[in-house]
């Protein structure tokens, strides 16, 4: 990537901009209710198919992972974001570019651990839960768990092993929705010479 060479450490302060809207990019916009409702139909089906919520959470995470693995390609191709130098930069890209691009929201990044390997994404609004009420018998269901899988899968493809989970959820009566992300390790890979 030639773009990195002219990046300095100041790039941390850099503001991320959404990719320039090309004629084809506006074609990517779709009715978000379609996505929200389809996701709802999926969760409903999973709740029918599985006895307990834990199993549903696991399935949603697995599907999210599959989506994330593919979505990262789409994201890198369209956002022209280069390699991140540290976890803080990663957090910024996720919140300011990725969430904006795909869900039209910008979560805030807070609660950094002193070591800088953990942070929270605070979602003011969660598009996935637009028309949702959780019935009492599904108190342990993490409705939007797909998002955790998506984040995990996407970051794995850029050599980052992370642990993603919901710490708070408005559906369960919390004030905000909080996704907690913890950096585990860099996934080593053998780069061909000259590809650094």
């Amino acid at each position: 990537m030639s773009r990195q060479s002219n990046r300095t450490t100041e790039s941390k302060k850099m503001l991320w901009y959404l990719p320039f809207i090309s004629a084809s990019a506006s074609m990517h916009r779709m009715n978000s209710e379609l996505f929200t409702l389809t996701y709802g139909a999926l969760v409903t089906q999973l709740c029918k198919d599985y006895e307990n919520d834990e199993e549903v959470n696991k399935q949603l995470d697995k599907m999210g992972y599959n989506i994330g693995v593919r979505l990262i390609e789409d994201f890198l191709a369209r956002s022209s974001v280069g390699r991140c130098h540290d976890f803080r930069e990663t957090a910024d890209v996720i919140a300011k570019v990725a969430f904006k691009m795909y869900l039209g929201i910008t979560p805030s990044v807070t609660n950094w651990s002193p070591a800088g390997d953990e942070f929270s994404l605070i979602l003011e609004s969660n598009p996935l839960v637009d028309f949702v009420e959780l019935p009492d018998n599904h108190s342990t269901l993490v409705y939007s768990n797909l998002l955790c899988g998506v984040l995990r899968g996407a970051l794995e493809m850029v050599q980052m092993a992370v642990d993603v989970r919901f710490a708070q959820d408005t559906l369960r009566g919390d004030n905000v929705t909080e996704i907690r992300m913890k950096f585990i390790k860099r996934i080593e890979e053998n780069l061909p010479a000259g590809d650094e």
Partner: protein, 158 residues
């Protein structure tokens, strides 16, 4: 506004999931299609409620079908239906020459046997939408060359 890629990937996962769970339970192809169609039905019901909030009441069946071909299709698939035909006896054929969910798949005869999986959800979508506009129907789809496909809507007299 959600991004289209997101929906397409989710739609793919939906299909994957339904067909994977069928492997364990010995469910035949028809059952999977039905399952996908039912999910689509529920989504169609929800969508049409949101879309028709500000529209005037429809005059007749044809009016409803036109709405589905123009406004509904545009807000879901970013384009209108290319061709609407009817025999005026309750059968409508909606032709889409570049159906959104097939464009990523192939432009020809390749993977033709997988096409029905990718249409079942949309059949349900149309049926659900019509159902909530008071039109009971059976919706089937056929593909001869991707990414073009035809949806046949048979109106069931109440």
């Amino acid at each position: 506004m959600a991004d289209e890629a997101l929906f397409q990937f989710l739609h793919n996962e939906l299909i994957q999931y339904v067909y994977k769970s069928a492997e364990h339970g010995e469910m035949e192809n028809g059952r999977c299609i039905t399952k996908l169609e039912n999910m689509g039905f529920r989504v169609g019901q929800g969508l049409i409620e949101r879309f028709t909030r500000d529209t005037a009441r429809f005059k007749d069946e044809l009016d409803v079908m036109k709405f589905v071909c123009k406004d509904f299709w545009t807000s879901v698939f970013k384009k209108q239906i290319d061709n609407l035909r009817t025999n005026h006896q309750g059968i409508y054929v909606l032709q889409d020459n570049k159906f959104r969910l097939l464009t990523q798949l192939s432009t020809g005869k390749q993977y033709l046997e997988h096409a029905p999986k990718y249409l079942a959800f949309t059949c349900g979508l149309v049926r659900g939408g019509l159902a909530n506009l008071g039109v009971k129907s059976i919706v089937t789809a056929e593909v001869s060359v991707m990414p073009a496909c035809k949806f046949q809507v048979m109106i069931q007299k109440m």
